[in-house]
Amino acid sequence: MSDVTANPLLSVRGLTLDIPLASGTLHAVRGIDFDLHRGETLCIVGESGSGKSLTSLAVMGLLEKNIKRSATRMDFDGMELTRASKRQMRALRGDRIAMIFQEPMTSLNPAYTIGDQLIEALRLHRRVSRDKARARAVELLEKVGITAAASRLGQYPHQLSGGLRQRVVIAMALMCEPELIIADEPTTALDVTIQAQILRLLVDLTKEMNVAMILITHDLGVVARVADNVGVMYAGELVETGPAASVFGKPLHPYTRGLLRCIPQPGKTARGADLGTIPGIVPSLMGDVQGCAFRTRCPHAVDACREAIPERGEPPHEFLCVHPDGARAAEGEPA
């Protein structure tokens, strides 16, 4: 279980990512804050272009060179990541912070066997013999549910199915017993049945090994089932954050409620009935962005939405909106 009274493993304040382009500056991520404790899973959910993947890359120090990162604090277990050297970041990545990406075919090297890649992941960071690393690889492949693990070590990525490949990627992420796993859409390329298996595996392993996880996804179903805490991201801001039960039980930001109405919910949405929609498009984040970025699509927008938006709600469930109740009453939702 996560211990919220202890210091967070990762604490981010005011993370801002600017991309200078020929036509101006694109404010991709605009001052976001979040904390993550050991053993806890934070899901960041948002649509394409909301900045959720860039956020995860920023934590890992894997941003493209042209992207300007600034933050008042990015503390990983006492280490200030904004001041860490490239060398220190390299030592962290794959060791204490592990990554799982969406497409398992591109995150594995097609020219090396599974075994070589798993063993390298460990020996890059730890002084262990090849035999010991090999034994650890077999142990982890078994842990992620791969049968005949020892014989798999000699296989190449193309010889495995998508689900198996993603299991290998997870095993690789676990080789050095990381404290933080950042998973960016880890199941988006997989079938629903395999998705459920992989997510179950991730949930079980993170709980068992007390690993913190940031899971980036666009799928609200995944978020609801996996997250301890949720961050809803829109146009480079976390517009609503809080415990999963609270955010799904009583969504406060109009955007969160809009998203939930867009997906057919078996048992709740009548078959064939019209689904909710969010009219309009995501605004451009070029140049100065003032006020609430969602106001152009929000049915409750008022003049005050152009000004600075106050932070509302009671910690840990907070949101950004000019309406004290996030316009829940206006939509006939219980207070």
Binding site: L199, H218, Q265
Partner: protein, 329 residues
Amino acid sequence: MTAPVLELRNVAKTYSVKQGIFGKPKPLKAVNDVSLTLGRGEVLGLVGESGCGKSTLAKILLGLEQPTSGQVLVDGEQIVGQDRLALARRIQPIFQDPYSSLNPRKTIADIVSLPLLVHGVGDAKSRAKSVREMLELVGLPARVLNTYPSQMSGGQRQRVAIARALIMHPEIVICDEPTSALDVSVQSQILNLLNDLREEFGLTYLFISHDLAVVEHLATRVAVMYLGRIVEEAEVGALFDAPRHPYARALLNSVLTPDPSLGVPDTQLGAAYPNPIAPPSGCHFHPRCPFAQAECQTKAPRPVPRDAGMVECHLHDPESAMYRPDFTV
């Protein structure tokens, strides 16, 4: 059900797959003896894991692949071997990825009017008029006529793809994962649009998707496909409320509804999807089935009709020793 607009009778497609340079070609039964009937105005949701043959079936219906055996009938008329142009008037596709299914060098007006041009419908003026009307129907402003796909968002592109599919007023539209490349807020707009257009034009959809929540929402009937075979077919309510085939149940179980009080479900599908070149003996599903018995390993189940649908499982076959009439998984 009204008179069937689309009927598949024992359709099969077998590919010959070579393994290695000196390997003997082996048959891969991508579609294996599939029979389906679809009434006018119905939406048949076709679900199953990747590699189960969904897309091959779609290609056969579009005339892009010829079936190895079996018949495909539109309005009672056999279409296999028919002229592709004649077929295209009646059956049109909407594909998954609106980024690759639209020609980046053509304007929206060119893209949407191309079917009319190919079929020699009307003159330039009447074609331009039809295009404008169609764009309005799919919710695109007339100013997009002279823009290019790269200037549009994913949702707008998918609207263009829908306009192109409908401009010839086809009877049947094959929607192959039409919303899986889109964001949820855009997905719901496209699903609403597809539903409205179906009512307006009396269209019949074959809706292929891996998102079962979407299928439940849009479909009137559902067919569950596994290793080239339809293992269960039923009216949408019957299938989602009481799935009969263990595989259908496993698929439904793996749907992640946004309910934080539930964890990630256990699908109980231990083993991975089998190799279609060497399918398991007997019932193809038995290695992954929690209810499998000895009979399942040796004997393939036969299709058994069940309340306006069918299921292929020994548990539902009155002639099987495993028969359990009250079995809903």
